[in-house]
Amino acid sequence: MQDELTKKVISTMAATQHISEDKITIDSTFQELGIDSLDGINILFALESAFDISIPDDKAKEIRSVREMVDGVRMLVEAKSDGSTASA
């Protein structure tokens, strides 16, 4: 069962790629989905906006699959909420 964050990453990627969400699973690789380098940066932009995060360039370059993308986004979202808890 997918959690909310995974669902949101997948729906954001689907919207950006103009493909159906059913085509994307947690195990899909970018290669399988036909995501090229321009698609990749377009997806990063959409995810940054959707989650209000900033994805660093060096990390972004290593991402090759949906699972890696979900893990990376989760890490950044958690870091952000930790930060806000700490400052609260």
């Binding site: 790629q17 103009h18 377009n42 990063l44």
Partner: protein
Amino acid sequence: MQRRVVVTGLGVVSACGLNVNAFWDSMRQGRSGIHPITTLPPNQLRFTNACDIPDFDPNNYFDPKEAAYLDRFAHYGAVAAREAIKDSGVEFSGELKERTAIVTGSCLGGKASEDEGYVQLYRCNTTRCNPLTIPKAMANGAASRISFEHGLVGPTYTISTACSSANHAIGQAFWMVRNGGADLAVTGGSEAVFSLGLLYAWNAMRVVSPDTCRPFSKDRKGLVLGDGAGILILEPLETARARGARIYAEIVGFGMSSDAHHITQPSSEGAARALRGALEDAGMAPEEVSYINAHGTGTDANDRTETAAIRSVFGPHADKLAVSSTKSMHGHTLGAAGAIEAVATILAMRCGTIPPTANYTTPDPACDLDVVPNTPRQLQVGAAVSNSFAFGGLNAVLAFRAHER
């Protein structure tokens, strides 16, 4: 050894029609495409009418992701090129793909996408800009799309000289085919001006008419902005004949000049030099010309200056010329203007019908040419020229001859 160059394919996207047939139907009936602006929300502009193209849905021509990755000016250019290539009936062999040039014109390129991208920064105060802004904004977007859509790998580039862009592009492509630098050319221009930022910028220039476009008419109040694209297929006469292609017309001359005068005010001497240059390049006597598709923007300055330029080049023969501005119908499409007007000029020659200057009401002594007011005219045209004069004082004129069938 120079080759004769003919036009064998045409493509148009315009407020007067989404293809050549619909466009020509409007032209030959003198039907204007000027209408209330529909593609932008209500605003405080001084003008309310334009030639935007609300009927054009890119998703009818591209898959949705492809459509999203291109600016509207590239959509228009690619669609017009598709029509022109199909119309020409040319089959691209491997060798011809390498020997085909693509030369497009655009004044603004994808500035509307740029405008949209910067809204995030300037209005929404974010630090993010859409990463598609750069590839969508580049002025060669249409040329590149045409190249990879058809696998054409020869010389491919884009010329941006404001409102002369398309004529400069067609002229360059013509010379390339004539001199053997290419064996076929896909050439013309495309433009998409309807973003809020661009419309306010034009608004500030105070050259846009509050109602309609009345070229050469005493009560003219300015230009009307338009979107669109025109594309021509050019090839040597010999190869066109050999493959049994339909030949619309022969392109015979190209002249260009710079006013070196003022950044926005036109000069009749500059325009006249480009006109003379085109005739000279064509080996054409002024008396051979019977139709001029004028730049005819409907601004006070252009129409006066253009009249003076025509009189200076053609002398007494100026009174025998039919001179019309089809911008009165399809609007001023800036970097696409020369290409859309080349299509109008070529079809006028082919069909023996001069598209009129629409919306004309009152003669102006400063524009005392036969401007074919409001009513199309049956006229056999052996030779015609099409003018483009740009902000920045850059002028480009094309000359055509009818092809004897």
